[in-house]
Symmetry: C2
């Protein structure tokens, strides 16, 4: 079990990931802007660290083994925040992780971010930001795990996914809960090091795909 | 003398750079969205290639030795275009240059883009995009020349600059004409390979600084 920093822990994926990581026995540091947003989770292994991601948040990395970046979480926040959070805060998180000798960096990315030109969509600017953040992570020397979920839904998780889906198939969906479960299976798991997973609902057990 | 592709040749810097490169004896391919915007330059060594930078523009690189990227040109176009042009089109230009075995890539960047966190300014999202584009170029294996001018003015060029200025000093200015002159001195000049130049008006001859 390890000390996990969850960046963006009050988001729709982040909160479920925090809960699942705690249930799995990890210690979690939840990094978020407003601690009231996570007041419904109470657990002795949870620490909360309040910090705006547009400022320096390097102190949160102290004593952590793994980092999960799930801030931002969508293409609907406007392109200025896309540049400042989805791209720059993610880039800074990678740099802070390097300086703190973090063992593993789990990035929640997006379907389509491998090739933003393949999609004719209003979210292309968002995919550009995710692509460049993923590239920065892959070049960082850190052990990385990149999760690229399809279109997100609020359905209950099924824990079944489909491998080998064309990565620009925007029609494919996945519940946010399954993304959170994929985070939980990835953390502290050397088999997930330096791997990129597409996540789409399908017929293969998620646990077997990642572990 | 070489074959130079100028990307963004109808911009305020691009047009002056095109003229200076032609005057210096180079062949220039001017890549722009609307060829009417460069109809005031007529020269037998000028070819015009009309293409939107949001589409595939790789064909323009054929037969070129050097590439100059000066599209975008400012922080005032809105953050969506910042992502699509200043970041993604610049990234794609680097990839096309690699595929075409281009000898040198000259990037017009900006003061402050080395460390966007050092500036508390509304143009921070723009500096993030320029930083990541510069990083992609530096990691590309291409011979790069990165120009980081101060605040741009429309004054006539002086051809005198200042070295060793703190790179986040936004108050320092430089005429666009001097940036165009710096491009001209950089192209086809091995001494400018893998160098980053801050450009601010000062008392040192620009030609000596670059050549």
């Amino acid at each position: 079990m390890s000390n996990v920093l969850v960046i963006g822990a009050s988001g729709q994926i982040g909160k479920q990931a925090t809960q699942k990581l705690l249930n799995a026995g990890h210690n979690v540091t939840a990094l978020l802007r407003n601690k009231d947003k996570i007041s419904d989770i109470t657990h002795s292994a949870l620490s909360v660290y309040e910090q705006d991601l547009e400022d320096d948040f390097s102190a949160a990395f102290e004593g952590c083994d793994s980092v999960v970046f799930c801030a931002g979480s969508g293409g609907n926040t406007g392109p200025e925040k896309t540049l400042l959070i989805d791209l720059w805060a993610a880039r800074n998180a990678v740099e802070y992780a390097r300086e703190a000798n973090i063992q593993q960096f789990v990035m929640v990315s997006s379907v389509g971010s491998d090739d933003p030109d393949a999609i004719d969509s209003p979210i292309k600017p968002y995919l550009v930001a995710k692509h460049m953040a993923d590239e920065h992570l892959r070049n960082s020397g850190l052990n990385y795990t990149i999760l690229r979920p399809g279109s997100l839904t609020d359905e209950p998780g099924t824990e079944y996914v489909q491998e080998l889906v064309p990565s620009n198939d925007e029609a494919r969906t996945i519940p946010r809960e399954d993304v959170a479960t994929a985070i939980m299976y990835s953390v502290d798991n050397p088999k997930a090091y330096n791997r990129i997973y597409g996540l789409f609902t399908g017929d293969q057990p998620l646990k077997a795909v990642i572990q």
